[in-house]
């Protein structure tokens, strides 16, 4: 699936929920369920330090594709992180670098990106794209 197809799939999943509470509950569930990163990678150099929650990000380059794993100490951030990983992981560096992430707004949680802005989610997306651009440059 392409990055946009995965985003559309997520938007579809969230369309079943009627109100904000249910959407949050689903994000929390995603945060609780997913083992996202090996403990060994939860080290300071992989830490994206936001104002509030911590986010760890690890990138692995295999078979021409970037594979991301990540985690956060806050469960809602972790749920959001798991979605970003689902959308961006396993794609080519070029596709990741060019990706436009619209799903967070479209799932109907207005303001959640701005709420989360200081928490490293945007920093994380930026960092993922930087990895991709660096790998793209290296491999081209």
């Amino acid at each position: 699936m392409t990055i946009n197809e995965i985003q559309d799939e997520l938007i579809e999943e969230f369309s079943f929920f009627e109100d904000r509470n249910e959407k949050y509950e689903y994000i929390i569930q995603l945060g609780k369920e997913l083992p996202l990163i090996e403990e060994a990678y939860k080290k300071d150099e992989n830490l994206i330090r936001g104002c509030q929650a911590k986010v760890w990000l690890h990138a692995d380059f295999r078979d021409g594709r970037v594979h991301f794993t990540a985690d956060s100490d806050a469960i809602i951030t972790k749920g959001l992180v798991s979605m970003v990983v689902r959308v961006l992981s396993g794609h080519t560096p070029g596709a990741i670098a060019q990706a436009e992430l619209y799903f967070v707004d479209k799932i109907g949680l207005q303001g959640i990106l701005s709420v989360t802005r200081s928490n490293g989610l945007l920093s994380m997306i930026k960092q993922m794209k930087l990895y991709a651009v660096a790998l793209q440059t290296k491999t081209s």
Partner: protein, 415 residues
């Protein structure tokens, strides 16, 4: 019969007061707003909103320059506001009241100007372990510049200053003590009279960061005998972008200007510039005239309600909120000083403060989460941050009930 019997302040009509603040009618995601982030910024009453409109509708003009009618009216209003602040703080002279951009700007002014004049290599500046970054970083910058040392008054687990350790820090090398009157994170009311008295025994001046104090506690700079005191307009129901530096005349007169230009100038030649007298020497450039004037309106508003009544009501609210929150399983209050103002910081075991904040927001309840710009304090408690509830006199017990129910709901969702 004793003549100094304490008269209990009249009870506040909270519903009437809430009508003064139009933003309190806001709904968030379809639910009525419960605004409990007053430590970050307070909401504005109609009186201030109207004053802002009036300023731009009838008064807008530059101050201290024009000979024309509007400029004179604006200047009169600007200086009238300075006199209101003077009376509010009971300063000796109105030229001891300097308009700044805010608390941070005022602290930076003192750090720069006082530091330049009085701090030498090897000297010391003392702050406390519970300071906001705004009362740490300007001193760090100044100390680095002057090759001076920054020392820290430690605190106990309750969030109270260790006064014995404070006394032990005092010596001839200490050139200034800068402490919060009230901690923005813990709500601790510090023993500022004792700090000032001890400091003055060593001829050391004291700066009080009163950003979280002046809207909750009556402050009298002469009675405190404090040397510098700073606060922000927006936390005291006034506009943003305005703050106050109060300084004793004898200190301010010895301090060099902080910034150059505008009405701080007496005469400029390319050979030499002479500076204006206080307070204009520290008010370079065109000030935030509207905010300066409307800060006076905000002060009129809260003085009209009465700080003793505000203090009493907020204290009742704090005690009620403390009891309500402590009834929640695994909830721990960070900051349990004996003397506290209307701030409640808490964590719930096994739950990240950020998550609680997001779920509360979803219910229309506005609180602050994070480290509250007091990272050293979070390190002391070994926590990533807290959920902070900061009260104002327009808050109600019903809102506290909604908060407690919201926290319970958030904990159920998150665990």
């Amino acid at each position: 019969m004793s003549t100094d019997v304490m008269v209990a302040p009249a009870a506040l009509d909270i519903q009437q007061i809430r009508n003064d603040f139009p933003i309190l009618q806001t709904t968030v995601y379809g639910k009525p707003l419960v605004y409990l982030d007053n430590g970050a910024t307070a909401q504005k009453p109609w009186a201030v909103l109207k004053a802002i409109e009036d300023y731009y509708t009838h008064l807008n003009s530059n101050v201290h320059r024009g000979v024309h009618h509007l400029s004179q009216k604006a200047t009169d209003a600007y200086e009238a506001s300075r006199r209101k602040v003077t009376a509010f703080l009971n300063a000796r002279h109105d030229y001891e009241v300097i308009f700044t951009k805010g608390t941070t700007d005022a602290i930076n002014l003192v750090a720069y100007s006082y530091g330049k004049q009085f701090v030498q290599e090897g000297d010391t500046v003392i702050v406390s372990a519970m300071e906001h970054h705004s009362n740490i970083v300007p001193w760090q910058i100044m100390c680095e510049d002057r090759k001076a040392n920054l020392q820290v008054i430690p605190i106990n687990e309750k969030g109270e200053l260790l006064m014995d350790e404070f006394s032990a820090l005092l010596n001839d090398k200490v050139k200034l003590i800068a402490v919060a009157y009230v901690s923005n994170t813990l709500g601790t009311i510090n023993p500022v009279r004792e700090i000032i008295a001890q400091a003055h025994q060593h001829n050391i001046p004291v700066l009080l960061d009163a950003a979280q104090a002046v809207q909750h506690i009556p402050v009298d700079v002469q009675e405190l005998d404090v040397d510098f005191l700073v606060f922000s307009g927006h936390k005291i129901y006034g506009p943003t972008g305005i703050g106050i530096l109060y300084g004793k005349e004898e200190w301010l007169n010895q301090m060099p200007p902080y910034q150059g230009g505008g009405s701080m100038i007496k005469q400029v030649t390319f050979a030499k510039t002479t500076y204006h007298d206080l307070p204009f020497r520290f008010e370079a450039g065109t000030p935030n005239i509207e905010a300066c004037i409307c800060l006076g309106t905000a002060i009129d508003y809260i003085t009209g309600i009465g700080l003793p009544a505000i203090q009493q009501y907020e204290h009742e609210l704090l005690e009620y909120a403390t009891a309500q929150l402590l009834s929640i399983d695994k909830l721990r209050i960070i900051g349990t000083a004996t003397q506290k103002s209307g701030v409640l910081s808490f964590i719930v075991e096994g739950v990240h403060p950020y998550d609680v904040g997001v779920i509360l927001d979803n219910m229309g309840i506005a609180v602050r989460t994070g480290h509250h710009c007091t990272q050293p304090l979070m390190e002391f408690y070994g926590i990533p941050g807290t959920v902070r509830v900061s009260l104002a006199f327009y808050n109600t017990k019903e809102e506290i009930d909604q908060l407690a129910a919201g926290v319970k709901r958030a904990v159920t969702m998150l665990t």
